[in-house]
Amino acid sequence: MLTLTGVGHDYAGVPALTDIDLTLEPGQILAVVGRSGCGKTTLLHIAAGLITPTRGRVENRFRRPAYVFQEPRLLPWRTAWQNIAFGLKAAGRPAAEQRRVASALMERLGLEGAADKYPHELSGGMRQRVALGRALAIEPDLLLLDEPFAALDPGLRAGMQRLVLDLLEERRLAALFVTHDLTEAVRMGDTLIALSPAPGRIIARLELGRTPRTDAETYVHRTVAAIWPRVSRAFPD
């Protein structure tokens, strides 16, 4: 469980986040939506323990968070399976285990036959799946996702969203999912939090439940329309 109480963070005296209260339970997906620059990535960095916030209290009971960035951030000089095994290698796991875990994940992620390819030989969607595999390889209990599909073609995005939802459910993982796209936040999140433009503060908190498998598009569009009045302040134009 992750609990933030009255958290705020400043960069060089300029506030980026203020008054953030949130909890994330095991197995829950919390989608955070807001315009770019509203402190979403800062929130993820706080959850990952990369930065200590200037104000407030953070209580993180998750043992092992894993991160998926907006860009794949793969090592160009390592093959796909070696990239997936990066976290295991960092944890000092034996080579045979690295190989075994990586190949099982590659199969699950639809990356068969790509094990010995280098990142520049893979398509953008495959690279992001390798990055996802790298995060899942360390058997995390919390997945931190920083706009992981923003750089993908719209056609690929829907498939990746479904894949991540399935994986989160299979592994009963908690996730903190950050995006600027409201439909994506509705599709991914059990709970949705909308942040105001900088400095980010919570302007709406909505319990949505999980996206159904059938008629997902209808569900998403209907939900977006229903909640729009409450979250529109996050997107002033």
Binding site: A66, Y67, F86, G87, K89, A90, A91, Y118, H120
Partner: protein
């Protein structure tokens, strides 16, 4: 097809140069300007006596020893300087000063401190080449992708892994051009050092002997050997090594075939 045509042009360039050399040489007496054929004959003679191979072995050994020291020290110090800005600020002016010292001056000092027949040329080569490698390593370490470092931090990679998984592979791309020019410099300095130090062995010594005997064809022959060795080292050792060490770049070149 394109590659063959490129080769043809290269060969044509070399052939033209040789023909021009030959025509010019014919205008002068053979003891002043030898023809390419004279030089080739001299090469064969040197090869037959065995003196050539012994000299090549000795000079190659010295060159690689000095070059190796420069790569280890320059690369190591450069990597550390890239990681620790205060160290970089402390070392950079020192290395720049060393780079400013002409190799000839280095040789004179080296002769006072070291043995003219072994360590003096090695020392000179190492000091002359070190700044080139150092500068490339500093620049490479500084240009490392911060996003990858952040990724490694998130995945709790130990410091050792940052070096082996990120810094070293990244640095290789920066170091390679420096290694090539450093190796070229190493050969030139090796010859210079052997000649200046009056070494009894090595190609510099052979060049010195040819000079004393006013054997211009012999001098040309030694120069040709140096050029051939440098090209061989670059194309038979360093470039294949780069391909082996950086298989991930292969797909980027050309493509298709």
């Amino acid at each position: 097809m394109r590659r063959i045509r490129r080769r043809l042009w290269s060969l044509l360039g070399i052939a033209t140069a040789l023909v021009l050399w030959h025509l010019i040489a014919l205008q002068y007496p053979p003891w002043a300007v030898p023809t390419p054929l004279d030089v080739a004959r001299e090469l064969v003679r040197l090869g037959q006596t065995g003196a050539l191979w012994r000299a090549v072995a000795v000079t190659t050994g010295r060159t690689l020893a000095g070059f190796g020291i420069a790569v280890l020290l320059g690369g190591g110090a450069g990597l550390l300087s890239g990681l620790l800005p205060p160290l970089r600020q402390a070392l950079a002016p020192v290395v720049t000063a060393i780079q400013g010292v002409p190799p000839v001056a280095l040789i004179i000092v080296a002769l006072l401190w070291f043995d003219a027949n072994s360590s003096a040329p090695i020392f000179t080569i190492a000091v002359a080449v070190l700044p080139i490698i150092f500068a490339a390593a500093v620049e490479g370490a500084g240009a490392v992708d911060r996003n990858l470092i952040e990724m490694a931090t998130v995945f709790r990679a130990p410091r050792r892994m940052l070096v082996t998984e990120i810094y070293l592979p990244h640095l290789l791309g920066y170091l390679f051009p420096a290694l090539l020019s450093g190796l070229g410099l190493a050969w030139k300095v090796a010859l210079l050092a052997e000649l200046m130090a009056g070494s009894r062995t090595g190609m510099g010594a052979g060049l010195g002997t040819a000079r004393v005997n006013l054997n211009v064809a012999g001098m040309f022959a030694w120069i040709a050997v140096v050029v051939i060795l440098l090209l061989a080292m670059e194309n038979l050792l360093l470039r294949p090594l780069k391909r082996r060490l950086e298989p991930w770049r292969r797909g980027g070149e050309g493509g298709g075939g």
